[in-house]
């Protein structure tokens, strides 16, 4: 069957898998991984140029048809996120922004309150805003009001590969929020990405798992397949889990119907 495209801010995407570009050992692995998973949206960050040593710019390794999503990593409050987003936009590449406001170095949990403030400001300035949050219904509703293009709830701590620890809370957002839900952070294996899609998430973003795999392009491909499989399962009307068994073979016409069991 043909699936409807993922639509974010009026733009259609065939792929429902977003790739983060951090932590790759080399640019070839990154470029091969983008090709292998077919992502049409990839995240990048903005940093001070290292004046001491020359590094090849990452943009040279991202195909031109791919939408760049600049994150505001490093921002500790709304104002800092706004500043980073404006700098990215000034480059001519980045009016799609993933708001990431973090003020905690141990758990790297996003500050939902500051994220909402930044979303409000940047949406009003014409940015396409994809805010990264701890899954919370009220924060998500505030983001809808603030003009967000998606909501990106975390599955578990960034880079932890723990999967969908926040599953029930993400399900609430999928059920209640009328924007694409992109599950981000903590997705450490294709099975976890498939699980998010089976629940009805609209897309999944992964980075650390792929970038730190022994063969990043191979895992990127596996993630893309898992996201597709999970999506098809969701569209199929996946039956609910049960707490007890239900036979899959008929319960009549047994050969031993006339012999009482011991």
């Amino acid at each position: 069957m043909t699936d409807a495209p993922l639509v974010i801010a009026g733009k259609s995407f065939t792929s429902r898998f977003l790739l983060g570009t951090g932590k790759f050992k080399n640019k070839k692995d990154l470029s091969d991984s983008i090709t292998a998973c077919g992502s049409e949206i990839v995240t990048v960050a903005l940093r001070r140029i290292d004046l001491e040593r020359h590094e090849e710019n990452i943009l040279g390794f991202i195909p031109p048809h791919v939408t760049l999503l600049t994150n505001t990593s490093g921002a500790r409050n709304a104002q800092e996120a706004v500043r980073i987003a404006r700098l990215a936009k000034a480059s001519g590449y980045g009016h799609w922004v993933k708001i990431e406001v973090i003020n905690d170095s141990k758990y790297l949990l996003p500050d939902n309150h500051e994220t909402i403030k930044a979303t409000e400001i940047l949406s009003a300035e014409g940015f396409v805003v994809l805010p990264y949050i701890s899954p919370d219904l009220y924060a998500a509703r505030a983001l809808v009001k603030a003009g967000a293009a998606t909501v990106m709830p975390l599955g578990s701590f960034i880079g932890s590969n723990q999967g969908l620890k926040t599953k029930e809370l993400i399900q609430v957002l999928i059920n209640e929020i009328d924007l694409p839900i992109v599950v981000d952070a903590g997705i450490g294996a294709p099975s976890q990405a498939a699980e998010a899609m089976e629940m009805g998430a609209d897309a999944v973003l992964a980075n650390t798992a792929i970038a730190t795999a022994q063969n990043p392009p191979l895992l990127a491909h596996a993630f893309a397949l898992a996201v597709k499989a999970g999506r098809l399962a969701y569209l199929s009307g996946l039956p609910l889990q049960r707490s007890i068994a239900k036979a899959s073979s008929p319960l009549t016409g047994f050969l031993y119907d006339d012999i009482p069991a011991n």
């Binding site: 983060g20 570009t21 951090g22 932590k23 790759f24 990154l30 995240t43 990048v44 960050a45 903005l46 940093r47 001070r48 140029i49 004046l51 020359h54 710019n57 990452i58 943009l59 760049l68 600049t70 994150n71 990593s73 404006r86 700098l87 990215a88 000034a90 480059s91 590449y93 980045g94 960034i158 880079g159 952070a185 973003l205 980075n207 650390t208 970038a211």
Partner: protein, 66 residues
């Protein structure tokens, strides 16, 4: 003249335009974004922007990130 570039103090021998600074400090100017004293300066204004003693300049670009 002394200016702060990316948090570090730099001695410049003569008055310089922003376009000169970008080409002398960055190997490739294509994806460079500049912020002078907190204000973004678009690349088409680099040649007309003169730096003053005590200025704070940020030279940033895109890197890998999740």
């Amino acid at each position: 003249m002394n200016i702060i570039i990316n948090g570090k103090s730099q001695q410049l021998t003569s008055a310089k335009k922003l376009s000169d600074i970008v080409s002398s400090f960055c190997k490739q100017s294509k994806h460079v974004i500049t912020e002078l004293n907190g204000t973004i300066v678009p690349s088409d204004q680099w040649a007309q922007t003169n730096l003053q003693d005590g200025d704070t300049l940020e030279l940033v670009t895109f890197v890998g990130g999740g």
